[in-house]
């Protein structure tokens, strides 16, 4: 067997609402504190309590943060999903289960090692109260894993101390449960297992953070003051985090005055309306939502495009269509966001690939929205937004000041004869705007109805077209101003094109493919519209795999609609199960196309 130290995946199958989240975070963080790169992904139900939930921890000395596509240790604590959990375990893997109850003999597999621990029995003997016993059972397995993986108990105690800083009695009870599991494992099994954790120094200068928290932090640093939203999974935690940061950082301790407005709207229609109202009136304002909210916001997005009102919208994508699977991930809103609303509309979209990009792109989104006077949609997803990712420390340049774009202040207004809202003075398609309350000369009428370049109502064809054509010139300018793509590799005739959270799996897949002698270049688009570099990459490759997490190849559609690429060159690798794409899926998809074999049949690639 290969060296499996610091290179394996644990999957924990439990029932939601029973306290397993804290045990899982504890395990992940203790590995992170040991200096070993780690990733944790939560596959949870759209439910409060009682349905199956899984947590995957990938330990990767090489720093891969995508799903590996295989499970080495399965902690199977949910009888309801036991059969499929056992089935998912890789050959040679370890199955940990609660031996308090008999295990169905039918579910045995000869190729795995079974480790039974009487978790419930031990906790029933040592703790009182039904709820406490359940909670402790679910922390006890962390102790078992600590022994099996050779995790440092003192480190775990330290983490518990931080978590329960205000309730020290909980540190002791949790530690007691962990010790029970730890001791049992040490007595009954040969610890540590061959796949274990050995301290490294690869996590210094890194944090573990989820994308929603990072995006919220970006909004704070960008100087956003008005946040309006309607609760929807998986975007809610972004707004919660923004509120939390503001409550800590923007409240005057003496007076209680809050330097932000946080408005829970009556629905998404109102949330985006509030954002437009506030942005139009000179405040940096944003909302966060998910697919269904984007559908509802369409009408206002069209108005914002046409009337040229800045707005920042975070779309934390989840599985569609319709209500879909609210707690599963997908990249399914690419088309809906790019062309939201009726008539000729196109919107700036940013595609962060990880939490650190959520932070920086949140800042960029506000600057772009104001510079370009148009909505900017930041398309994150549930995988980035709600899972903890290992990221390099976020950095901030104190020289940063918000770029409000072309806004005329009082002095400039006094100098002009007449304010003309939609006239292209600079030839870049971007007009000048003014804020209410400054000077009567600067007043103008914002409307979604036909308007002239002077902002007045019109039904005249020529006047209408002047504005529409200027908006198209602005779109050309936008192409040059949005974040550039990331290109990895050059010279191969095969390329991968992708975006967003598929990135981590692709980068791992590239390493595997290159290791096998298959040279593949990689282009990650970071924004819509696509600029010249995207065009160049598409032109330079004979065969292009478009990797994305939706059924209908939406990125491929956008590429064929908005670039000169030949459709025949594009092969889709589509992953839309609701779980994050794994590197294995991509490797197999690429190999099936370029080296078809029995192991990698060609039709998989065309799925």
């Amino acid at each position: 067997m290969n060296n499996r130290v610091n290179d394996f995946t644990i999957k924990i199958a439990t029932v939601n609402g029973t306290g397993t989240a804290s045990a899982n975070t504890l395990l992940m963080k203790s590995i992170f504190r040991s200096g070993v790169p780690v990733m944790g992904k939560n596959f949870f139900p759209s439910n409060i309590q009682g349905l199956p939930t899984w947590y995957e921890i990938r330990v990767s000395r090489d720093g891969h943060v995508a799903r590996s596509g295989k499970v080495d240790i399965m902690v199977a604590l949910n009888p309801e999903t036991y059969a499929r959990d056992v089935k998912e375990l890789a050959s040679g893997g370890y199955l940990l289960y609660d031996s308090t109850w008999p295990r169905p003999a039918l579910l045995s597999r000869p190729d795995i090692t079974v480790l039974g621990v009487p978790l419930a029995q031990m906790c029933n003997e040592h703790f009182n109260g039904v709820r406490t016993r359940i909670l402790m059972k679910n922390i006890c397995y962390a102790g078992v894993l600590a022994a099996l993986l050779s995790l440092d108990l003192e480190l775990i105690r330290g983490l518990l101390g931080e978590t329960y800083a205000k309730k020290p009695q909980l540190v002791e009870s949790n530690m007691k449960a962990i010790q029970l599991g730890y001791d049992y494992a040490r007595q009954h099994f040969s610890c540590p297992l061959p796949l274990s954790v050995e301290p490294m120094d690869r996590t210094a200068g890194h944090i573990m953070i989820d994308g929603n928290t990072a995006a919220a932090l970006g909004c704070v640093f960008a100087g956003a003051t008005v946040a309006a939203w309607y609760p929807i999974t998986p975007s809610t935690s972004l707004m919660d985090a923004f509120k939390g940061f503001c409550e800590r950082l923007r409240v005057d301790l003496e007076t209680g005055v809050k330097r932000f407005a946080f408005i829970q709207a009556e629905d998404e229609l109102a949330a985006i309306g509030m954002v437009l109202g506030a942005s139009w009136n000179g405040a940096r304002s944003f909302t966060a939502t998910s697919g269904p909210g984007i559908s509802l916001m369409n009408e206002f997005l069209g108005l914002a495009y046409y009337a040229e009102v800045p707005a920042v919208v975070f779309d934390i994508q989840r599985v569609g269509p319709s209500t879909g699977m609210p707690t599963r991930t997908q990249q399914g809103d690419l088309m809906a966001c790019a062309y939201a609303s009726h008539g000729d509309t196109r919107h700036v979209c940013l595609y962060p690939a990880n939490p650190q990009e959520c932070f920086y792109m949140a800042r960029d989104a506000f600057d772009l929205a104001e510079r370009l006077q148009t909505p900017v949609l930041v398309l994150s997803d549930l995988d980035i937004g709600m899972n903890d990712w290992m990221c390099p420390d976020l950095k901030w340049d104190d020289a940063y000041r918000p770029d409000r774009g072309k806004v005329l202040g009082l002095e400039q207004i006094l100098e002009i004869d007449r304010f003309q809202r939609y006239v292209d003075k600079d030839g870049d398609g971007i007009p000048y705007r003014t804020f209410p309350g400054v000077h009567p000369k600067a007043a103008y009428f914002t409307r979604g109805s036909g308007h002239t370049q002077f902002g007045t109502y019109t039904e005249d064809s020529a006047d209408y077209q002047v504005v529409l054509d200027r908006l198209l010139r602005k779109w050309q300018t936008i192409k040059q101003r949005v974040p550039r793509p990331v290109v990895d590799g050059a010279g191969s005739e095969i390329g991968i094109v992708s975006l967003g959270s598929s990135d981590s799996a692709i980068r791992e897949a590239l390493a595997v493919l290159r290791g096998r002698g298959v040279a593949v270049d990689y282009l990650r688009v970071r924004a819509f519209p696509f600029g010249e570099e995207v065009e160049r990459f598409l032109g330079a490759h004979r065969l292009l795999f478009v990797v994305e997490q939706n059924r209908d190849a939406q990125l491929r559609s956008l590429l064929t609609l908005e670039t000169a690429v030949e459709k025949a060159k594009l092969r889709s690798l589509l992953h839309y199960s609701g779980l994050p794409v794994s590197s294995r899926f991509i490797v197999e998809g690429v190999l099936a196309e370029i080296e078809p074999s029995a192991e990698h049949p060609k039709d998989i690639a065309r799925a």
Binding site: F32, R33, I207, M208, I209, L217, V220, F221, G223, T225, V226, A228, R250, V257, K258, R259, F260, A261, F262, I263, A265, E266, L269, A270, A271, G273, M274, L276, G277, A278, S279, W280, N281, G282, A283, S285, F300, L303, L394, K395, W396, D397, D398, R401, P402, F435, P436, G437, H439, P440, K441, A443, Y444, F445, T446, R447, G448, T456, Y457, E459
Partner: protein, 353 residues
């Protein structure tokens, strides 16, 4: 539709307000509504009120949705920014705009379709938040731009121009606003400028959500016999309850009132409203009694008008008070007080290790 520009010439003898402006300075573009439209009278009343209050034109923000009524924000105070949003969604634009800058005056002009059908939800929630704005409904019971369909404010039994009879009960914005806790609720009639102008003045100065439902007959689609929103019917059945005289803080009360007839209410900025009750048993500060009275008169086919309810003691805080936002508008806070900077970031990151 007219494309004729309005001449900007005014007679030198026109009276001037404290800022030296004449009424002409508070006008807007030429109206494109039908001749005789009630909405134009309301526009004139708004001009009069803004002039009377000596409002700085740039400090008035005009908001609207879609419909005949919503067009009118272009027809007054051209020195103030206007935002003609989408159908039924003006309250959300108003909420965001107000959140960004609390120092300006916000007037929203809407219609019965815009408010009571497509925009009912946003209307209710703006009231619920006690957003500091004047919300004016130009209520004619009919959809004009789409040519004569009943709106949600049409009374049961009212007849359309083409002969249909309305069978659905109306939604009354005044009753709804009272129920939702609005702090200033009034009803006017476009044909009664004397009553309407002080209501608009008081509504603009009121801190919190002020609703004025203005009956505003549609001369083209709803001014015939059998309609309960025609000029003739409204003249006959609009019943003044409480006359509100608005007295700006700069002015003395000069009118003599009979003892017991008048009651003075001070507004937050020092202005006063003098309420003159036309019925001795009516108390415009009693929400439940006001609602009961409106309902009773409605069942008799009468439109109760005047200042129907006022939260005279200012019991309900408005949106910014609830949000604890600073006195300085959020849109002008310096960046330095909003960003924790690189040192702040380093401290924050410690929690994620």
């Amino acid at each position: 539709m007219t494309f004729i520009a309005k001449p900007k010439v005014s007679h030198p003898s026109l009276p001037r307000n404290a800022l030296g402006f004449t009424r002409r300075d508070y006008e807007g573009a030429l109206s494109t509504l039908c001749a005789g439209c009630g909405h134009d009278s309301i526009t004139a009343a708004i001009v009069e009120a803004c002039w009377g209050l000596s409002l700085e034109p740039q400090n008035l923000v005009k908001l609207s949705g879609i419909g005949c009524s919503s067009k009118t924000t272009a027809y007054f105070v051209s020195g103030g920014h206007g935002f003609n949003s989408v159908h039924g969604r003006m309250p959300s634009i108003a909420t965001g705009a107000n959140a960004a800058n609390r120092r300006l005056s916000y007037i929203g002009v809407s219609g019965d379709g815009d408010t009571l059908s497509i925009g009912l939800g946003q209307f209710c929630h703006a009231i619920r938040r006690n957003l500091d704005m004047l919300y004016l409904i130009e209520n004619n019971g009919v959809y004009g731009l789409t040519k004569g369909q009943f709106s949600a404010s049409a009374d049961i039994g009212t007849r359309a121009k083409k002969g249909d009879t309305n069978l659905q009960p109306p939604i009354d914005p005044v009753l709804l606003a009272l129920d939702l806790g609005a702090t200033f609720v009034a009803r006017g009639f476009s044909g009664d400028k004397r009553q309407l102008v002080p209501l608009i003045e008081a509504g603009l100065r009121h801190r919190g959500f002020a609703l004025i439902d203005v009956l505003s007959p549609c001369v083209t689609f709803n001014d015939h016999e059998g309609s309960t929103k025609s000029y003739a019917y409204t003249r006959e059945h609009h019943e003044r309850t409480v006359l509100a005289d608005f007295v700006p803080r700069e002015r003395e009360i000069t009118v003599e009132y009979e003892p017991g007839e008048a009651r003075e209410v001070a507004l937050h900025d020092g202005s006063r409203i003098v309420l003159r009750k036309l019925e001795t048993d009516y108390d415009p500060t009693d929400r439940a009694a006001a609602a009961a009275k409106v309902q009773q008169r409605m069942s008799e086919g009468e439109h109760l008008t005047g200042l129907i309810y006022l939260d005279a003691r200012g019991e309900r805080p408005e949106f910014h008070q609830v949000s604890a936002t600073p006195a300085e508008p959020l849109n002008s806070l310096p960046y330095e007080v909003l960003s924790p900077g690189s040192r702040g970031l380093a401290k924050i990151l410690e929690r994620y290790r």
